[in-house]
Symmetry: C2
DNA sequence: CCTTGACCTTCCTATGACTGGAACCCTTAT
DNA sequence: ATAAGGGTTCCAGTCATAGGAAGGTCAAGG
């Protein structure tokens, strides 16, 4: 199948698939006309990537996960460690966003939000 | 004062301040030797930017906030609306990260993480 | 006076993970 | 013959910086 069908089956834009080829995540063979040819295996790999990216793994993590996936002898501990490291990063990002959100919430709460110019949000930004 | 001191007072890298000048967020005058000269007002503005960025506002939001800040007649409602829009975006990002985190947590939980090759994480990524 | 070291300047490149667009080729149907 | 709807490459842009090279400026010390 061509890139368009592979894209819709894997749930990735064709552009992204070309990019993944460029950085060596996939290497579909070419037809005589130069078109990339995708088999089930490649589509499966692309879907794997789409899901891993959907879970927020970086491209380099995905590269690692793919190679672990293709290594039938690897220990699940390695995958688990990678996932745990990633989970901790997500936790940190959530914590940071929640901190922001809390501050923002206080400011919004304190601001009358009417047509008068006094604004605690700007007052806070201007210097606490 | 020169850029170095302005940077440490505002809590921003000098590189970032040059960038902010490039995109028109600040316009410090120059000394005869070509050095940027920062007064209290500019440093204050930079600190304002640092705090707004720290709350996750985009550069364009910051530009807006700055111009609202400098408009003594603006209604606080406008600032409040901007902050609320931003808060909703943060909420959405938190929700997305929490969704990821939950899935990841389940997978990690299901994975023995030992030296055997069977791994629910990879099995899930490979296709549910 | 000269040098040293800490500043400052501009300009160019890179990041991550794509996205958009131009210019051009291939295939199929009308 | 042509038009539509694929495909191809290559270049530029995104966001908000960070890193580094090459060179100008300044105050202090020998």
């Amino acid at each position: 199948m061509n890139i368009g069908e592979a894209a819709s089956r894997a749930g990735l834009p064709a552009k992204t698939i070309r990019y993944y080829e460029e950085i060596g995540l996939v290497s579909p063979p070419r037809d005589a006309n130069g078109y990339r040819r995708f088999g089930e295996k490649e589509v499966h790999k692309l879907a794997f990537l789409a899901r891993a990216r959907g879970l927020g793994f970086s491209i380099e993590d995905c590269r690692m996960l793919l190679s672990l996936y293709e290594d039938r002898a690897r220990a699940s501990a390695e995958v688990r460690a990678l996932a745990q490291r990633h989970a901790r990063e997500i936790d940190a990002r959530i914590a940071q966003l929640e901190q922001m959100r809390a501050t923002l919430g206080e400011l919004i709460h304190a601001c009358a939000g009417d047509d008068r110019p006094d604004c605690p949000i700007l007052r806070d930004l201007a210097g606490r």
